[in-house]
Amino acid sequence: MEPETSPSRPDELRRGVLVFVFLAILTAIEYFIGTHELPVILLWVIALIKAGLVIWYFMHLKRAFREEGEHE
């Protein structure tokens, strides 16, 4: 089994851009749903996805559970 490795630095920057683009698209969809009176549940689903992306990729939740105390 391949050991789990953290992404290299250029990958981290690229991942940040991808997450940002995804969040921006979701925000635009959110605005469209809100201004066109579409089902509210969609807004909650999008909000949860956006929060999950930020918590996982920007806040690095998994770092809190690490045994090693190191920066990535």
């Binding site: 630095r9 981290e12 920057l13 940040g16 851009v17 997450v19 940002f20 969040l23 921006a24 925000t27 959110e30 605005y31 749903i33 809100g34 201004t35 509210v40 807004l43 909650w44 999008i46 909000a47 956006k50 929060a51 930020v54 918590i55 990729y57 920007f58 806040m59 690095h60 939740l61 770092r63 809190a64 690490r66 045994e67 090693e68 105390g69 190191e70 920066h71 990535e72």
Partner: protein, 193 residues
């Protein structure tokens, strides 16, 4: 007869402190999230399927500004973890300016444009309490960023040691997560009053 005792990491080591500081920060974020969660519940309890009559365009702009600031905050953290001081300084400065822009948009524009005050019924109480408490957190985040910017300019952070930057970034992203829920709750869900 002495049994082998596994070696413990010294309590004063950077690695040990980093681990415990991370847990402490996440516990703080969790406790703060309960406060914001309470405000969110209050909004639906008091207003139900109605919402304050707010400018949709301003709402979208301030939301976008905060989202972009989170992007630059992430870049600042990645840059310092690469040892790129210049990139860290630039990205932190942009994040700060965007945070100030968000405050100007909410307090300087949206609060002035709103045709109701804090004492004008449930919608005033809900809107000003939610945006006010969130703006207070953005302000403290900007102060936190100013501190790491100052320390960064003095060269206090390196690729191996930058806990304050990580903490400021996590706090800033948390403030963004709160707005991810506040934005639809205030601007998009329900009929305008």
């Amino acid at each position: 007869m002495s049994a082998e005792v596994p070696a413990l990491k010294p309590a004063h080591s950077y690695a040990y402190k980093l681990r415990t500081q991370r847990i402490g920060l996440w516990l703080f974020i969790l406790s703060d999230a309960f406060m914001f969660g309470g405000l969110l519940v209050t909004r639906f309890y008091l207003l139900g399927n109605r919402r304050p009559d707010l400018d949709q365009f301003v709402g979208l702009i301030v939301t976008s500004v905060l989202l972009i600031s989170s992007f630059f905050m992430n870049r600042a953290e990645v840059h310092i973890s690469q040892g790129n001081q210049r990139g860290f300084i630039t990205s932190t400065l942009i994040t700060m300016l965007l945070g100030i822009g968000f405050l100007a948009g909410v307090i300087g524009v949206e609060w002035r444009m709103a045709h109701f005050g804090p004492a004008d019924g449930p919608q005033g109480a809900v809107f000003y309490m939610m945006t006010g408490m969130h703006a207070f957190h953005v302000l403290t985040g900007v102060i936190f960023l100013a501190i790491i910017l100052r320390n960064g300019l003095k060269g206090h952070y390196s690729a191996e040691r930058h806990w304050a930057v990580e903490a400021a970034a996590n706090y800033w992203h948390f403030v963004d997560v709160v707005w991810i829920f506040f934005y639809p709750a205030l601007y998009l869900i329900g009929m305008a009053i």
